[in-house]
């Protein structure tokens, strides 16, 4: 004796407090349950890949800042590694250590943002977000000290890093690194046993390992499903093979596991930074390369483990100063394709929380 119902279309439009950027979802809902979703991207398309074909490789580094604007260092690192492989440029050891320090700092900052916005989406009125932002602010202050910018750092160069960090950088870094583990414990204490948070995130948005591999999921989302794949251990780049750290994986593949994996990864990043600071050798911070680097014709695919997963750069060179083809493999775009299956049958609140746990950055989806 149920009344016949009709599905309606809800447009979670480009402007929305919880879509993590300009990103549109058309949701076909039946009451409170989602029947189907339709994701429309492209609102932030800035045609980076085409513009990059007119600029030299060094001039293309700022594009990577703005693609994934929450993980600028990782983007820079990816492009530099790919270009170095293409042009066969050697990187001094000190530069590699500096790159690792900054990439891990960026990972901590990005995970703080991702976890904070996830808890805000679950309804906690930004309090955990602002707590995590304390550390993020200190990290961004460190970035500003070194390269002058907080968000779009443009710090890595082909052959090393752009600047040597100033003398006041190292004590500030050590102070932060000493303080972080207890802060992470504080966040764990606040959130991981919180009933309401567990009720909102447990068994929501479950991705099985098979679905994850079939859907090309990468990053903490993949590790949350139990698949132990981390590029820093599988294909070590940039002296990661000398670092001792663990790769946390989850058990169920739900939102809670992805949250916990990110939190645990922050701890591992702190370990890596400490080891890097202890072992950093002296030397120059970059090798000299010609102003307009002309790599030999060829193609390369260089990838790094960014905070969101495998951030890949496909460069094709035709011998000129500008790349013939410049493509960014954005992890957010490919991770996002799983949202459709996850959202079917879920309620709207669950879909929002799942989207937050996949951790997308629209800048990198649209480029």
């Amino acid at each position: 004796m149920t009344t016949p119902t009709e599905p309606y279309v809800l447009n979670i439009g480009p402007q929305h407090p919880s879509t993590h950027g300009v990103f549109r979802i058309r949701v076909v809902m039946d009451g409170e349950r989602i029947q189907d979703i339709d994701m429309i991207v492209g609102y932030l398309h800035r045609s980076m890949e085409k513009l990059a074909e007119e600029r030299t490789y060094t001039q293309n580094i700022p594009f990577t800042d703005r693609a994934d604007y929450l993980a600028a260092m990782s983007g820079n690192l990816g492009l530099c590694l790919a270009a170095e492989r293409l042009a066969r440029v050697e990187v001094p050891e000190r530069a590699s250590y500096l790159r690792v320090i900054f990439a891990e700092l960026q990972r901590i900052a990005s995970h703080a943002m991702a976890n904070g916005t996830l808890v805000s989406d679950a309804g906690a009125w930004q309090t955990p977000l602002l707590y995590m932002f304390r550390e993020r602010e200190k990290i961004l202050d460190l970035f500003e000290m070194t390269c002058g910018a907080r968000l779009t750092t443009n710090y890595m160069r082909i052959g090393g890093v752009a600047f040597e960090p100033p003398p006041e950088f190292w004590p500030a870094l050590l102070e932060l690194v000493d303080e972080l583990p207890e802060r992470i414990s504080e966040y764990e204490e606040l959130l991981t046993q919180n009933e309401i948070f567990i009720a909102r995130t447990r068994d929501i948005g479950v991705i099985s390992p098979e679905d994850a591999i079939n859907g090309s999921l990468v990053g903490p989302a993949l590790r949350g499903s139990g698949v132990p794949w981390d590029l820093r251990k599988a294909e070590p780049y940039c002296i990661y093979d000398r670092m001792e750290f663990d790769v946390p994986i989850g058990r169920n593949g739900d939102v809670y596991d992805r949250f916990m994996v990110r939190l645990a990864e922050t701890r591992e990043s702190v370990k890596i930074i400490r080891q890097a600071v202890e072992n950093i050798p002296d030397g120059s911070h970059k090798t000299d390369i010609p102003l307009a680097l002309r790599p030999a014709p060829g193609e390369v695919y260089g990838r790094v483990e960014g905070p969101r997963g495998e951030l890949g750069f496909y460069l094709v060179s035709d011998g000129g100063p500008a790349p013939y083809r410049f493509h960014i493999r954005a992890p957010s775009l490919i991770n996002l394709s799983l949202l459709r299956e996850l959202a079917r049958g879920a309620s709207l609140s669950d879909a929002v929380v799942t989207l937050g746990s996949i951790d997308i950055v629209v800048g990198e989806i649209d480029r």
């Binding site: 004796m1 149920t2 009344t3 009451g31 409170e32």
Partner: protein
Amino acid sequence: MDSLGVVIAFYVLSAITIVSAASIFLLRNLVHAIVLLVVVFLGMAGLFLTLSADFIAVAQILIYAGAISVLFVFAVMLTPLASRDNGNSLYAGPGLLLGGAIAAIVVVTAFDVEWNQLTGVALEQRSFTDTIEVIGNQLLGPHVLAFEVASVLLLFALLGAIVLVTDPNNEDGAAAEEEAGKDTAVGGSE
């Protein structure tokens, strides 16, 4: 019914109630009609207050304006075209006739009956300040059987509503069944 304030209140409230009640069946917009129904309920609560029936007035607001109107609202929202043209109906003529006939019967009976009215000293001796206590004593004293029977009846209505709405195949009738159950439950517990 002596003081000037009470008389003014009576006339004002009666005017509001009657005009709203008339507008309910004269309006074309069903949703507006529901709002006016709520006004009628509130007007009636005010009229109860002019008769010093404080408990009944507050219970009227709680049950009618608070719960039953929500039930009406849900029912109207499930009606297609609730805000559109609802004026023309085949039953307008017979409806008015029947309504007029009932109104005539009620008015004639009201004027004809010998109302048991107390005045003066008898009123003073009989009047009480605490209606709740008296109602409570009556409900749990001389009229306890009727009270219990009414409660059991409402319980069956609640259970029946849940049974009617639950789809044995899935449990997604939960929201609707709770809504249906709530109104009868409120009516019973008060």
